[in-house]
């Protein structure tokens, strides 16, 4: 091996990142070349010195408080990550969702009336011919969620209606 080749392999040699056969070749060269030995030693010294540069420990108090500081910052920034949801939660959007919901339910009820004619006394509109196919909003237990977050319930209702019935309802209107 030439000295230039050895120079290229100095760091991998010190890092034990060479094939065994290459290691043997480099070692053989080093045994007979004072210049490359000095070069190798200089690089080794660099690594030793770099490794010896310590990071000062900020102390136990810093480490104990660190998770809390992160937690506070996450909590502070979380609302911005949920901005989209907050837009939906804004009063105007809530009203829009509620109005959409009423519109869909109203359209569905109207269709039931048109399909079945006048509703016999004592029979609710939800007992029309398509009623069995339609998901009932009563199927889900909304009450506990409604108390916690009525906006979320409105969105959930609208989503369910949309997913399961909207296409059919609008196809028939």
């Amino acid at each position: 091996m030439t000295c230039n080749e050895i120079k290229e392999l100095t760091v991998p040699y010190l890092e034990l990142d060479l094939e065994p056969s290459r290691v043997r070749d480099v070692t053989t060269h080093l045994n007979g070349c004072a210049g490359c030995r000095a070069e190798m030693e200089a690089v080794r010294q660099v690594l030793v010195r770099v490794k010896g540069m310590a990071v000062p420990d900020p102390g136990d108090q810093f480490w104990r408080g660190f998770p809390q500081r992160v937690r506070r910052e996450v909590a502070r920034q979380q609302p911005s990550a949920r901005r989209t949801w907050n837009v939906i939660r804004a009063p105007g959007w809530s009203l829009a969702f509620a109005a959409s919901l009423l519109l869909v339910v109203g359209a569905w009820s109207l269709k039931g009336l048109l399909d079945t004619g006048p509703v016999p006394s004592g029979q609710s509109v939800t007992q029309g011919p398509n009623a069995a196919d339609l998901p009932s909003l009563d199927d889900a237990d909304w009450a506990p969620s409604w108390e916690d977050d009525p906006d979320m319930v409105l969105v959930e209702m609208a989503t369910q209606l949309d997913r399961q019935t909207m296409d059919r309802l609008f196809a028939g209107i």
Partner: protein
């Protein structure tokens, strides 16, 4: 058996706040050390380590788990470091321009003397960011080059090349100082 980072993340996603704390405590020193090696002062390192965890927890759902959580933290931390170093370089440039107009000449002499005291530190400071990252990850965090490649979003060969260039520059700097 110790709980894995993935399990802790799942627990955190399910609302378990103690999992959050455990994850932070498990990795806080490693992340802080990496930040300190890159930025070389406590205030910046502490700030950047905090930002790293905040980003990780705010966006934990986007973590695809194709690497370890620690590797992902390293990636976030190094991205933040690059931004911080870029900002710092801009500020230093502006500061030096102001200083050149305002400061007495001996300020520069003092700065030069203090820099000479730590030639190795200065040489590390002047390494290109990628070379410095490879050096820090290899020497101080004992990562394999394959993992350094993942963290730095480059090939293993590029990671090795960055590391070798860094070591070579440091060697030259030390030899120049001692010669």
């Amino acid at each position: 058996m110790a709980t894995s980072d993935y399990q802790l993340l799942d627990r955190y996603a399910a609302g378990d706040e103690s999992a959050f704390e455990e994850l932070v405590m498990r990795h806080q020193k490693t992340v802080y050390n990496l930040a300190y090696r890159m930025l070389e002062n406590h205030a910046d390192a502490a700030d950047l380590a905090q930002k790293t965890f905040v980003q990780a927890f705010l966006h934990h759902r986007s973590f695809k788990r194709e690497s370890s959580f620690r590797t992902w933290l390293y990636q976030i931390c190094l991205n933040q470091c690059r931004n911080a170093l870029r900002d710092r370089a801009r500020l230093v440039h502006e500061d030096v321009e102001e200083l050149a107009l305002a400061a007495p000449q001996d300020t520069f002499t003092q700065v030069a003397r203090s820099e000479l005291r730590d030639r190795l530190g200065q040489a590390i400071r002047t390494l290109p960011a990628r070379q410095r990252e490879a050096l820090v990850l290899r020497v101080y965090h004992d990562h394999a080059f394959s993992e350094i490649g993942v963290i730095m979003s480059c090939s293993e060969g590029t990671a090795k090349a960055n590391y070798h260039h860094a070591v070579d520059k440091l060697r030259r700097a030390l030899m120049a100082g001692e010669g």
